[in-house]
């Protein structure tokens, strides 16, 4: 079961003016489950997205990039689960374009106004007849109150749906922020994850939203890892409909910019962390903070070097304070970040929770096994590394590695 992931309360998910959501059970992979979602976006909204850097990106990712770049205002998102439409060549591209065309017809919008998303098994073709047959049902279902169902409709190996909602006041006007995400395996986003959707009825200019989306992704979805595998289909989208009545925000100097940025960042972080809490087979949730790096890249590389290590992750699963494995993972991070080749390990301190484990690169004289064990026994564990070589700090989030991870991924297609 997910690690401290609260169940969704559909009543607590505020609708966002300008957004409606509709789903269908299209039987793309299995019967009797929501697997097709349309998100309708009001005219004149700003929509921005970041996508996987995997070179084998799926056809829908390529089409999303094209459609966002076309300058055509986005009016709809369409998401299917059960098939990733990746590694499917020219036929996969045609299937995605046909999907956009069909949505455009049903909704009477331009086909370039449609953003397509797929998630599921790679190297298999979309069952287009089933997908196309489901679209009218999804369209007929459109409602502003369907966020909880939408969170369920985009699940694959997820155990629980993931959603978050908050409100902030801008110029005495209440602004809504609501988002959903999915993902449990093949999670090590590189620019974005599979899949996150965040909507607000705040008004933000397109160019500013583009900047915000990239920054927010870098400190939320790009700070999580379940298994180190970057998906072919990662996508993170922010929609700003502008229908709250609050004044448009068009520059970082606007006093309201920071307020909105922080609220969106927090929402994105909670949605990203929800993916880790529901990581395949997860029994622990780890926050790994790296302080005192020279650059964000250094801090992130070390954070992920620890957070991806199978040896570290199995030790956390066992609640075993085998903390030398963390030092080893710090030490080999230079494999992926050249500037760490001059890392002086004699300057490094390591904390587990509040317990000083290593200082000046060696076991701390004050450290006793029982102190580490007490922290390891918890389900939420903070690891902190201080490199003492600069001012850059990053926190990344990850989960442990259990028998259940192996079972899920050995059984995934059966």
């Amino acid at each position: 079961m997910p690690v401290n992931l609260p169940a969704i309360d559909p009543q607590a998910l505020n609708s966002v003016a300008g957004i409606r959501l509709g789903w269908a059970e299209a039987e793309i992979k299995k019967k009797n489950r929501k697997d097709l979602l349309i998100i309708e976006v009001a005219e004149n909204s700003s929509v921005s997205g970041v996508f996987t850097q995997n070179r084998f990106c799926a056809a829908p990712v390529t089409v999303c990039r094209d459609h966002l770049a076309s300058g055509q205002g986005i009016r709809a998102l369409v998401v299917n689960t059960g098939c990733a439409n990746a590694g499917t060549g020219e036929r996969g591209m045609q299937d995605t374009l046909s999907t956009c065309q069909a949505v455009a017809e049903v909704m009477s919008v331009d086909e370039k106004a449609v953003l397509p998303f797929s998630t599921g098994v790679i190297l298999e073709h979309l069952p287009m007849d089933k997908l196309l047959a489901g679209l009218p049902t999804a369209y007929a279902n459109l409602s502003a109150d369907n966020w909880a169902d939408a969170a369920t409709a985009i699940m694959t190996t997820d155990v629980a749906p993931k959603a978050y909602s908050t409100q902030i006041e801008i110029d005495h006007q209440m602004v809504n922020i609501t988002g959903i995400s999915k993902g449990a395996g093949m999670i090590h986003p590189n620019m974005a994850t599979m899949l996150g959707y965040l909507a607000t009825d705040a008004a933000v200019s397109q160019s500013l939203l583009n900047e915000m989306t990239k920054e927010i992704a870098d400190f939320s979805f790009n700070c999580i890892s379940v298994d180190g595998d970057t998906s072919t289909n990662d996508s993170f989208i922010i929609i700003a409909t502008g229908q709250s009545g609050a004044q448009p925000i068009t520059s970082k100097q606007d006093p309201n910019y920071q307020k909105l940025y922080q609220a969106l960042l927090e929402a994105a972080q909670i949605l990203a962390q929800a993916i880790v809490r529901d990581g395949e087979g997860a029994t622990k949730f780890m926050s790994i903070t790296v302080n005192g790096a020279r650059t964000i890249e250094e801090a992130k590389t070390i954070g992920f070097s620890i957070g991806k290590s199978p040896l570290v992750k199995t030790a956390f699963f066992a609640s075993d304070p085998n903390l030398g494995r963390i030092l080893a993972a710090i030490g080999y991070a230079s494999r992926e970040c050249k500037s760490l080749e001059d890392l002086d390990t004699n300057g490094i301190d390591l904390y587990l929770g509040d317990v000083l484990v290593a200082e000046h690169g060696g076991r701390a004289a004050s450290y006793e096994e029982a102190m580490g064990q007490a922290v390891m026994d918890q389900s939420e564990i903070d690891v902190r590394v201080d490199l003492h070589r600069g001012d850059a700090n990053v926190t990344i989030w990850t989960c442990d590695f259990s028998y259940e991870y192996v079972r899920i991924n050995a059984d995934y297609r059966t």
Copy 2:
């Protein structure tokens, strides 16, 4: 149990003139097991080594580098298991120097003539009293015929000892090559692995042996991964005693150079593959060949991106031809190798054994699941990727990821 790893036949391990080996049961971690080894090296031998690039390298690795650089002829190697003496700060360094001093006294050689090695748990101090007490026993045991016992004495989580022996003729003179290795977890060597020792009675000049050792490591121990974790203690040593009577080899132009190089490379590859065959929890042995890369770095990065992916490794464990996971791993290899950012996935072909799975970056029209399944059901599996963008080719070796891997690493210290 290890994957197709033949049991050692002590009779088949040829002694190498100029090398004697002696072991002790020093109770460093457990009773009644060989855990301390001395390898005596005859005067005037050439000895060369490559070591982990992990920034948190262990004290013995630092001392090995110093002693090799000192120009003092190497006369002895000392290896303990049960404790890695890494993350142990100044006290760890003192312990390693004391070990060298004690060996030097017992053997009447200079302390800089001793190379120290440790393997086991990180962040714990060496039990020096036990180690020092064991040295005289190990010394008294020295014999040219102890290669099989030596292979056992350096094991940690290894299920089986690893050794290999061969002979070649140089100038009508029989030359012996015998080596041992250990390792099963924390295996993703970066310049060398923990631990490989290869000895020959061929005569090779020191400077040429240094070049050979690095090249051989790059295409043997540096081509394996069990879990992607680079150890703090990796060390690979080649010793050439020159006592076979064959003419000294001092340059790559020597007609005997290639003969010796190929024989040493093959021995190193077999010892490296033995580590993968005995990889923690391994049930399958995978050879991943990347053809048509622009550089060796590109080919190796893609090979390891596939070979380290937990999703690929669990699919192999399940004999599930979920081959889209391999495409995904190829696609995200650019995270670790910038020159792959322009990789054209439409040019890529993927083979499983002899079966063409994907061509031009998409599912091959001829591919059927049953064909992939037949290959996956085997215990030795070849994966071949052709990038069609250059002339560089590399093969790396890895194993699958099983429940047993999680069990071993969740239980390691208990």
